[in-house]
């Protein structure tokens, strides 16, 4: 037997085949216009959300006051008063009343304080004093009182500082973390849908173009399935991480969160749950998609799994408002729903470590089962083209 010799050819291990398939998935998808546009939109959304936050914060909380004939003491009094009222204040000196008046009329400042140290200080506002009035009133009174006391020769000792004991120091941070987790879950949900679709479309594409027969002549169905899921999964994870980094970096740069440590912890949790959620849904979507041979029929088979995803999303939004409620508690253990609900509960501080552990274990068990059953369905249905294969048939199919 004279079989030609091949110096270029080395037999592949299963891992190499899986890597080849994964590599093809990544390199075709990364050049796909739909994918690129989708990714860009998600990142723009996250950045937009941050900018929106910053705009709201800056617009409402800084009070700008023009002062005519002020002094350091006046500015100091205004700032002390602002701190007591928990607002930011920006004091600007103006030379004369006319300039200050114009500044108020133009909306450059919220109010103009004339002759603050005199007998008849005056506050110019556009129409309504509001917060500026309270602030200025307090500052001028304080100034006046200390002036009068000093004139009367009273020596002031510093008043005692009140010690503040917080009973639930994290309450605000919990809310903030829950909001971050919710934003994270929105991204997670979008990416699960997006990449679940990619997996499903890829499976159907191979089936409808019949290329699957050529592929299966060189590898086993599970290798093809694993390569596809891993390749797209890495891409999805990469995108998740990019969004997370952009989001966290942006949040820190714009200073929109109070506890950066909590923020990062929450984001890491969401990314970890993405991995589990993706493994689950990608397997389900792949097995479902293998039952049909045309893209047009895809909707009918992946709808049930999509509905579970939507339900998980709706519950997680509800959980963000009521993280200790029984709906959130129960669903955070249900495989398939847990990746969307548990991160919100965790972030809100409503989940004990053992609860998270149980949810993760349940999810892993479910993934193992799905991969086994889904893999069989996939292998059984892959070579049956034309029409829709019934789930039972695919499961019991002998090649």
């Amino acid at each position: 037997m004279t079989a030609p010799a091949h110096s270029d050819v080395t037999p592949h291990s299963p891992a190499q085949l899986v890597r080849l398939v994964a590599g093809r998935e990544v390199s075709t998808r990364i050049r796909d216009k739909g994918f690129l546009i989708g990714s860009a939109v998600l990142i723009v959304l996250i950045v937009g959300l941050l900018v929106f936050q910053v705009a709201i914060n800056s617009g409402s909380e800084t009070t700008r006051i023009a002062v005519v004939g002020g002094s350091e003491a006046v500015t100091g009094a205004l700032e002390t008063q602002a701190e007591a009222l928990d607002v930011d204040v920006q004091v600007t000196e103006y030379d004369d009343e006319g300039a200050a008046r114009t500044a108020v009329e133009d909306g450059d400042v919220d109010g103009a304080l004339l002759d603050p140290a005199g007998a008849r200080p005056e506050l110019l506002v556009e129409n309504d004093g509001g917060q500026v009035e309270t602030l200025v009133q307090g500052a001028v009174q304080g100034l006046s009182i200390s002036q009068q006391l000093a004139d009367a020769g009273v020596q002031l000792t510093s008043p005692p500082e009140v010690e503040v004991v917080a009973l639930d120091a994290d309450a605000d941070a919990d809310v903030e973390a829950a909001v971050v987790a919710l934003v994270g879950v929105v991204v997670l949900y979008s990416l699960l849908i997006l990449f679940g679709q990619f997996v499903a479309q890829g499976v159907v594409e191979e089936k409808s173009s019949r290329v699957v027969e050529l592929l299966l002549a060189t590898m086993r169905p599970w290798q093809l399935l694993a390569g596809k899921i891993l390749g797209l999964g890495l891409l999805g994870l990469g995108q998740m991480v990019v969004i997370a980094v952009v989001g966290v970096a942006g949040a820190l740069a714009f200073d929109v969160v109070e506890l950066p440590g909590r923020l990062i912890g929450t984001v890491v949790t969401v990314v970890a749950w993405f991995v589990l959620g993706y493994a689950f849904y990608a397997s389900v979507f792949a097995a479902a998609a293998s039952l049909v041979s045309r893209q047009e029929d895809l909707g009918s088979v992946i709808t049930p799994a999509s509905i579970v995803l939507v339900v998980g999303f709706v519950v997680s939004v509800q959980a963000a408002q009521d993280p200790t409620g029984s709906l959130a508690t129960v669903t955070s253990f249900v495989p398939g729903l847990s990746p969307l609900v548990m991160p919100v509960r965790q972030a809100a501080g409503g989940a004990a470590w053992w609860e998270v552990a149980v949810a993760v274990v349940l999810m892993l068990v479910a993934i193992a089962a799905i991969v086994r059953i889904g893999g069989r369905v996939y292998a059984g249905a892959l070579l049956r083209t034309g029409g829709k294969v019934k789930f039972r048939e695919a499961l019991s199919a002998e090649r």
């Binding site: 091949h6 173009s209 060189t218 070579l383």
Partner: protein, 302 residues
């Protein structure tokens, strides 16, 4: 030697293969014929591991064909299959790599095969943009790109124009010269007759005839003798013992001889009538052999 040995396969109650067996030697071109639904595709899919035989096995070099061997087989499925949105060159590289080649040699081989099959300028085009004929070439290139040890091609000639047929035939003959056994199925029997060293005819799940075309001819039952004796009176041949007249028209007679009948006796009888302008055994074409082989089993089966 590529051996198909006693393959049985049933889908439900439909028994498709009932002991299909034949061998293809290195460097041999084997034409696989049979009516629609005879089981050609199933046989090839069993060899490629795409269907599991109920009994029997396929061997290459004495070893049952397993995954490692299959990666050394170039395969062209009946239902053509390529990634529609992948570029020609990338696609060929990918298939070469799936068959075990490293990245750089795979890319080189892809480029070389694209060039050889006249796809050089289309290397960066998506497959879906090519004409059907060109897609067919890509399909063939995908089967050949890894320099396989064995070729199994299901209906490789269908849908090709005469020029395409010739270039595919050349490519296959070249593979044979390399020592590669080539099995292909086809309905174009003239092509099979022209190209193949050996032919197997599949009918009702069995190989009903196999061997070289010449062997099939000699073993064929009901060979016919054509005698043209222009001056002969009608019925002259029927008078010769052991002769059955198939047709007779103005001295042009087609005869079938019973076993043991001497054709020289027939010639003598013909000469006795006057001039004989034609006396020859008719060489049955493969089409006729095929028809006979297929009908025979139908009758047996019925």
């Amino acid at each position: 030697m590529l051996e198909f040995d006693g393959l049985y396969k049933a889908y439900g109650s439909n028994q498709v293969l009932e002991g299909v067996g034949f061998g293809v030697a290195a460097g041999q071109m084997f034409g696989f014929c049979g009516s629609n639904g005879a089981g050609k595709t199933t046989t090839m899919r069993i060899a490629m591991g795409l269907a599991r035989a109920d009994a029997g096995e396929v061997r290459w070099a004495g070893r049952p064909v397993d995954e490692a061997v299959r990666r050394r087989i170039g395969y062209m499925p009946e239902e053509r299959g390529l990634y529609p949105k992948m570029k020609v060159g990338e696609q060929l590289t990918y298939f070469a790599r799936l068959h075990g080649m490293d990245a750089a040699p795979a890319a080189r081989a892809a480029g070389a095969w694209a060039e050889r099959l006249g796809l050089g300028e289309r290397r960066d085009d998506r497959v879906e943009k090519l004409s059907l004929g060109n897609q067919q070439r890509v399909q063939l290139a995908a089967a050949l790109v890894s320099e396989p040890d064995v070729l199994i091609l299901d209906e490789p000639f269908s849908g090709l124009d005469p020029v395409g047929v010739d270039s595919l035939a050349d490519a296959l003959l070249e593979q044979c010269r390399r020592g590669v056994p080539v099995v292909f199925s086809s309905h174009q029997l003239d092509l099979v007759e022209r190209l193949c060293d050996a032919v197997g005819i599949l009918a009702r799940g069995r190989i009903v005839a196999s061997g070289s075309v010449a062997e099939l001819r000699t073993s064929a039952a009901g060979r016919q003798l054509r005698v043209v004796a222009p001056d002969a009176a009608p019925g002259w041949a029927a008078a010769v013992p052991g002769v059955r007249v198939v047709s007779e028209q103005r001295g042009d007679a087609v005869l079938e001889l019973a076993p043991g009948t001497d054709d020289q006796q027939v010639l003598a009888a013909a000469l006795a009538t006057g001039r004989v302008t034609h006396f020859a055994w008719r060489e049955p074409t493969l089409v006729e052999l095929f028809r006979d082989a297929v009908t025979d089993t139908r009758e047996v089966a019925a």
